[in-house]
Subunit: 232 residues, 2 copies
């Protein structure tokens, strides 16, 4: 499959010149990829990325001069569709989490076999996100730990459950910053009715002002359920 496409062009960024040379040779052995450039400087790497628009970047994230994670973020913000694979010496869960958060398409340890790197390059080139099984496990442990507190908070009774459908609508509009007049207009009801609903909401949530109701809602999974909070 790979054989039938144009060779993917790869940019290498690693402050360790020896390692850089090693990867370069490894990739040159692979018929599917061309090394479009190689540099030991993150800043130069970012400029090369802009200039040569490679398909793929292998980025060492443990560099002294400039943080590799920051470099990845800058490249992602350019929005050039360049896929970045993070290379790291450490299987640190926080590093993995942060790299994936900012948009790395893969995360490989330098100690891993070259086959693993090629596998990652193949998958990422094919539009997928790739991470070795061992690191995936590491990532998820960290991920689940982040949610643990929140999940425990869920254990306590959620007063939002007592709200009626209409009260939820009103509260939802409150969490969007509306005042009572605005809510009345949007729901086509009178402002006094809104006040009635709001007072009922206060009773049920055991608060006595708008802002507190909104804060309760946001802290207890209401409204923008699109937003998932990660306590890290």
């Amino acid at each position: 499959m790979r054989e039938f496409r144009t060779k993917a062009r790869v940019l290498l960024i690693d402050d360790n010149a020896d390692h850089l040379r090693g990867i370069k040779e490894l990739i040159n052995l692979e018929s599917s990829y061309d090394v479009a450039g190689a540099t030991t400087s993150a800043n130069i790497g970012i400029n090369l990325a802009k200039k040569y628009r490679p398909d793929l970047i292998l980025m060492d994230i443990n560099m002294p001069e400039k943080d590799g994670l920051q470099a990845i973020q800058e490249i992602e913000r350019l929005d050039l569709g360049i896929k970045v694979i993070a290379l790291s010496g450490y299987d640190d869960a926080d590093l993995i989490f942060r790299a994936m958060k900012i948009g790395a398409k893969g995360y490989i340890l330098k100690t891993m076999a070259s086959a693993q790197l090629i596998r990652a390059m193949d998958e990422v080139t094919a539009g997928k996100i790739y991470m070795p099984t061992a690191l995936t496990s590491r990532f998820f442990e960290y991920f689940q730990l982040s949610f643990k507190n929140e999940t425990e908070a869920d254990t306590k009774e959620n007063l939002l459950a007592y709200l009626t459908a209409r009260e939820e609508e009103v509260l939802d509009l409150l969490t969007q910053g509306n005042n009572y007049k605005g809510i009345a207009a949007k729901l086509f009801i009178s402002e006094t009715t809104v006040k009635t609903h709001v007072n009922n909401i206060f009773q049920k949530l055991q608060v006595n002002e708008k802002t507190q109701a909104v804060l309760y809602a946001l802290n207890n999974g209401f409204a923008n359920r699109r937003r998932i909070k990660l306590a890290v």
Copy 2:
């Protein structure tokens, strides 16, 4: 390696009786596992989990009676150290995300080869978290999408930067649900001073009420910076 340990005990929960039987036979063929129980009811399954304390649970998460995700969450809350692998008919990113969020140790599609299931069971029994490569990619796409808005939001000017130290203090107390009297008491200043600060905050954040200022603060990385928001 597995041969030298006691057989791990597995509880099966799947509303589809045929599928349940299939998995049971599959596991019986595996010398490393014993089926400790099998049921088509999530509720009965939870009770069996309490009673028999299996090492592992294979939980179908697409059940009509009770949501499998909810069942996983209940089992996690029991904190019995039972590892749960989610079985699903769908490779839906949101389902995967939610299952892993609440603590599933693995996620396997029913359509996957039995070897995949055994692999997952082996890994999870060994204390790791396991997800097939294809699903991992799916998960991370969703994960990165969640963070994209936030990253972009960072790009736009953050009006919070214009606040003075005192104004930040006042805003912080606002985001904790205090009214002006409360803030005055906590900062040992008069209520009119609080009002002055609040009015200045409004100017700078370009809003005109307390709740909106609080919402702006929460949506723009103010205060609880421990919390990372995942816009999903």
